[in-house]
Amino acid sequence: MKTIMWVVVAALVLSIAFILNSTRGTTDARRPVRVAIASNLGSVMEELAASFNESYPGIKIEFITGSSGKLAAQIINGAPFDIFLSADMRNPEILYSMRLAGERPRAYATGTLILFTTGELPLRKAMELLNLPAIKRIALADPVTAPYGKAAVESMKNAGVYTAVYPKLVNAPTVSEVIAYTRSGADIGFTALSLLKSPWMKKYDVRGKYWMEVDKNLYAPVKQGMVILARGRRREQARAFYEFLSSAGAKNIFKKYGYE
């Protein structure tokens, strides 16, 4: 009697595992286009995909967010992505030179670096602001893997405040985590303007109160490039979305989110 009970239990567990696994086969046939995106694109992407689906309702677009450097490293190690939207030109260039992309990267947008705060700070004064004693922690994305972090370091260096504020710097893994850091512990942070344009961040999109643009003369433009990946499976569908991202319609959406 007991034996039968145990056999039944074991059979049940195995069959549940089998049923859950068997759903994989069906999803592969209508696998969505997987787009690896730099974190600054988290907010604009949903609108871009929605707009794309108006003309191509059958193609599902899925996103994987991360810092550009980390995503590029994952692609080099075999991550199954179809398109890569980086926050710089360098990472897509590297993939192209490794023949992981069939054609040269294409620039799709130029980002805007901002200083973001949730406290009461006089945001009119340029970069000298960072020297204020009230500012104890400055968040920025890791300059090694995140292009916006690199731009932040560059702007501080060019403004001549880098060495003085260096002890205050806190590295976040991505630009979107800079916002999380700034809302919890840091007094101010370098991030991408696009992130404040998402529906759930709108309350912070008040220029002069919560954010100010970093002087564009202080850093090289954050030119963002994308590539179609050679190992991608959904070639045609990926191509359609890739071309859409360079269209006038997409340009307008990028503009709405603070890109140039």
Partner: protein
């Protein structure tokens, strides 16, 4: 705002698969260890419980190196066997099996060790085979340990994060399990779905523990009044 529940399906699929695989291996291993008098037993025990104290990133890192498409063993798995271990479901099953193994092994081993050897001998004397004895004498007698092992293995796999993120890489519908979906939504500053996922994971965790403690408490009482 629509909330995707696919990450939970992926988590459940992972946990069921891992629990089935781990239990199948852990039961004989724990049985062997519990009754072994070998001088070298401590080495096997240390290696098998290593995941309890090792940072998940260490295992994730080495598996990533070993199974990447750019390494010889990785090429064997992905090109020859057609079973890529990096950024795939089979990969996170492999890494979770290693990680959840001690969570099943420890309670099972404790259960076997507390077992009265006399009843096993009695079963043999009455002409039962080793397998029959194991299934109808040993297992029913360590039921609380079995429940604990299954529940801990299952719950731990549901909550596993670091190694899965390194090996699986957050692919929607494939390796984006519930715990990674929380991280992903927090990363996108989209806190509402992160709350929903977290509350569900909390509820699941506490229910599993409640089942374990409830089952074990009932057993305990019965033993007391026996």
């Amino acid at each position: 705002m629509a909330i995707e529940f696919t990450p939970f399906l992926v988590s459940l699929r992972l946990s069921f698969t891992v629990t089935a695989l781990v239990m199948a291996v852990a039961m004989p291993v724990a049985y062997r260890l519990a009754f072994s008098r070998s001088r070298w037993k401590f080495i096997a025990e240390s290696v098998l419980t290593l995941p309890l104290v090792m940072p998940p990133t260490v295992l994730g890192f080495y598996m990533l190196l070993a199974f990447s498409r750019n390494s010889p063993p990785g090429r064997i798995f992905s090109d020859t066997l057609g079973l890529p271990l990096v950024f795939s479901f089979s990969g996170i099953v492999a890494v979770s099996c290693i990680y959840s193994f001690p969570f099943a092994l420890q309670p099972l081993k404790a259960g076997f060790e507390s077992l009265d050897r006399a009843i096993i001998e009695a079963s043999y004397t009455l002409g039962k085979s080793k397998l029959e004895t194991f299934v109808s004498v040993v297992l029913p007698n360590i039921r609380p340990s079995l429940v604990t092992a299954v529940a801990m293995c299952f719950a731990h796999t549901m909550g596993e994060f670091g190694a899965i993120l390194m090996i699986g890489g957050n692919i929607p519908g494939v390796t984006r399990v519930a715990s990674i979906a929380v991280y992903d939504k927090v990363e996108q500053l989209d806190y509402f779905p992160a709350h929903v996922y977290s509350v569900l994971l909390l509820a699941l965790g506490i229910s599993v523990l409640m089942v374990v403690h409830h089952v074990n408490r009932r057993r305990g009482e019965r033993h007391d009044t026996y």
